[in-house]
Amino acid sequence: MLSETDQERFMRLWTSAQPAVANYVHALVRDHSAAKDVLQETALVLFRRFTEYDGQRPFLAWALGIARFQVLGLQRDAARSRVAFDDELLAQFTDTWAELAPTLSDRSAALQSCIERLASHARRLVQFRYFEDLTAEQIAQRLGGNGPAVRVNLQRIREKLRVCVERQLRLDGEMS
């Protein structure tokens, strides 16, 4: 059983790491409720094994390592997993995620603002793709057209959003 001090320490570390771990899990687990289960199970395992945590290592990297094993449990379920690479590559991907996550500022507010600025057709594609989680083929069936064309449009929208977010963050930085 963790001491009160360790419990507080865990809570502090987990609160800080949780958004990055949640993004990681949702990026790899297609089904939303399955992703929530994986995240919850990850938190439980982290709590139970917190005495094993080496305080010299970044907590996020350790947490993502635990989350990776939880995700691996779903890997064979193609309907729920987005993982498309082998275990070795998944480990490398996880390490890279742990390395990149702290360097990325919180872009959610800027992204929301940029999504609002999209033209109506593009917002509709974003909604189908990211809110309803439809594939390009499914979107094409709804709107007419074909999957590859939808995919190209989504790629252009991502690029637009990336440029928009960078500009927004730059402006925010200049104003602060």
Binding site: L89, S108, A119, Y130, E132, T135, A136, R151
Partner: protein
């Protein structure tokens, strides 16, 4: 692999074939930089997903706050902002104006040098006309309009023809033009350039009140990259100016006015917008006219 983007896009879409999956794995293992690039793409994809959910849920909550209704946010989200939706559905634009010139103006010891910003003459109705938002410079587009000679007691302000802006029962008839700022001669130094846009409007029915609008906004995108189907260019404006002139019932003849905009150096395109707003719905049956659109680059005199 020269361009991994299609493969990454297919991964993000969950549409990798077995062959593509093997190809992706090989590419990722080949170089740590590849893995980093791929991871960044996946992270950004997830951030978009999170933001899209937050946006949709906010809209749904706002729309449904007064009553308890079964949430169907997917149908509520993009029903918002009907004006922007309407903008994306611009009808085929037909336009030609009798006189459209740009001038370089110098103040002080000014020397006025005409500059053909658009095609020098729009007297020829056979010029190519663009549909929807213009995808480049030198093309007029917008809502229903056509080139006409004198009619309804209105004669062209310049030349032999003018643009008739057809009435619309809903919304504001709009005409667009995009100016390539890179094609302008380098003006005076400084962080911005001042550009003036003037236009003349007239009404077939002088007994209705109307507001004529000129709007100009500058964006950093090049004209060829302005894609109104993806992004409302106005939302990306780094400088924007709008001026409306209210015309009282009984006012006849051409109404000429102008706007000036300070265009930052970073801007690569200037979008010009001419609109007609008729408050009285019953009066939205008669056309308005646009003519003599001029654009001037205002260059301050050199410092002594």
């Amino acid at each position: 692999m020269n361009n991994p983007e299609p493969l990454i896009a297919a991964y993000l879409d969950g549409a990798l074939s077995d062959t593509e999956r093997a190809e992706l794995n090989s590419w990722l293992k080949a170089d740590a930089a590849n893995l980093r690039r791929f991871t960044e793409a996946v992270m950004f994809e997830q951030q978009i997903r999170t933001a899209a959910h937050a946006t949709a849920e906010q809209h749904a909550a706002a729309d449904l706050a007064p009553s308890v209704v079964h949430l169907q946010p997917r149908s509520l989200w993009f029903q918002r902002r009907p004006l922007m939706a309407a903008a994306a559905g611009l009808v085929i634009g037909l336009f030609s104006a009798s006189m459209v010139f740009g001038f370089v103006v110098q103040r002080g010891v000014e020397k006025r040098t005409p500059l053909a910003v658009f095609a020098p003459s729009f007297e020829n109705a056979q010029i190519p006309l663009a549909n929807g938002f213009p995808s480049g410079t030198g093309r007029w587009s917008g809502d229903a309009a056509q080139v006409v000679a004198a009619e309804n007691g209105v004669s062209p302000k310049e030349g032999k023809v003018m643009l008739r802006i057809e009435p619309m029962s809903k919304g504001v008839p709009r005409i667009y033009q995009v100016l390539d700022l890179q094609s302008l001669p380098p003006g005076a130094g400084g962080e911005s350039r001042e550009i003036e846009i003037s236009a003349s409007f007239a009404a077939a029915d002088a007994e209705a009140s109307v507001r004529y609008v000129i709007r100009a906004f500058a964006v950093t995108e090049a004209p060829e990259n302005l894609d109104a189907a993806l992004v409302d260019p106005r939302e990306e404006a780094i400088a924007l100016v709008t001026r409306g002139v209210d015309v009282m019932p009984g006012t006849k003849g051409w109404q000429t006015f102008s706007v000036k905009i300070q265009v930052p150096r970073a801007a690569r395109s200037l979008v010009l917008f001419f609109g007609v707003r008729t408050p009285d719905k019953a009066a939205r049956t008669s056309p308005h006219y646009l003519d003599d659109v001029r654009v001037s680059l205002l260059t301050p005199p050199p410092l002594p």
